[in-house]
């Protein structure tokens, strides 16, 4: 927990100053999770604000402060789902829709400014994003929360409100799909992307 239970309790009772402190404590972590779930840096803050907005209006439904973090993660996952659903509807691949980071990378690559290390890091990011992008959205989000965000099975159990065995099965299948995709990519390209970061 990044904050004391008493602070959550105060925020639950409508103390705006306490709520503000909760936002300040969690915003960076939540923005990081959102960035890795949605993959578009320019929209991360909007989705993050939506998460805290939902938190503000649902905090009184929280039974105990102990379940605050899974509750916040659930709101994060739901807001990311909603965003991705809206994005899928638009689903346009115009140059103007490329993320700022992608445009910068494209510019740098065009100008020959990208070093070998930057190129390798870019390859790792692109590879992981491509591997995760190859599996269904709900599996991708679940796998990202487990493997990248490092959430435990117990935490995931609370977020998804399903039992541990069901989660294990879903995670195993998702990981297996990513593994198959990874093997296919590696045997096709024959090059090693993994190395020291």
């Amino acid at each position: 927990m990044l904050v004391e239970f008493e602070l959550i309790q105060k925020a639950r009772t409508g103390d705006d100053a306490a709520f503000n402190q909760v936002v300040l404590a969690y915003r960076k972590r939540i923005l990081g999770t959102i960035a890795r779930l949605i993959g578009r840096p320019e929209d991360v803050e909007d989705v993050g604000q939506e998460v805290f907005l939902r938190l503000y209006y649902s905090l009184d439904q929280l039974r105990t402060p102990e379940v605050f973090e899974p509750w916040l993660y659930r709101l994060t996952v739901n807001a990311s789902y909603d965003y991705l659903r809206k994005q899928r509807r638009r689903n346009e691949a115009r140059m103007s829709d490329l993320s700022e980071q992608q445009v910068l990378l494209a510019d740098a690559a065009a100008g020959g400014k990208v070093s070998i290390e930057q190129e390798r890091q870019k390859n790792v990011k692109e590879l992981v994003e491509a591997l995760l992008g190859a599996i269904p959205e709900h599996d991708r989000i679940l796998l990202t929360l487990k493997e990248v965000e490092g959430l435990s099975l117990k935490e995931l159990e609370k977020i998804y409100s399903v039992n541990e065995n069901a989660l294990k099965v879903r995670l195993f299948r998702a990981r297996q799909r990513v593994l198959n995709a990874y093997q296919a990519v590696q045997s096709k390209s024959g090059k090693q992307v993994v190395g020291s970061a």
Partner: protein
């Protein structure tokens, strides 16, 4: 298989390091509070509209209740029961041609 699993594990680890938590902009929290206040004012407006609607509905109900409670000025036709009214509108002499006999005959 273990080698692939390890590589994948490493790849996820590197990805996490390459995609660190972004620093929130200075506008993040003020913008959040602006959104909260905007939604609050919407909720307040809806609540106010609901109150007006409920008050108007209650007033209309009162008017109708008063209208029904106050007796009409010319309600002689409503005095007496159904049989009396029927007898009044159909005198006994009018029933004879229809083959209806009354006790008084």
């Amino acid at each position: 298989m273990d080698q692939w699993n390890n590589e994948l594990e490493q790849l996820f680890g590197q990805y996490k390091r390459l995609a660190p938590d972004p620093e929130p902009s200075s506008n993040f929290t003020p913008e959040l509070w602006r959104k909260i206040e905007a939604r609050q004012s919407l909720v307040v407006r809806i609540r106010r509209l609901t109150k007006v609607f409920v008050a108007a509905a209650a007033a209309i109900c009162m008017v109708f209740a008063l209208f029904l409670a106050v007796p009409a000025s010319d309600n002689s036709i409503l005095n007496g029961n159904y049989v009396d009214l029927l007898a009044e509108t159909h005198p006994a002499e009018n029933l004879a041609p229809l083959g209806i006999r009354t006790d008084t005959e």
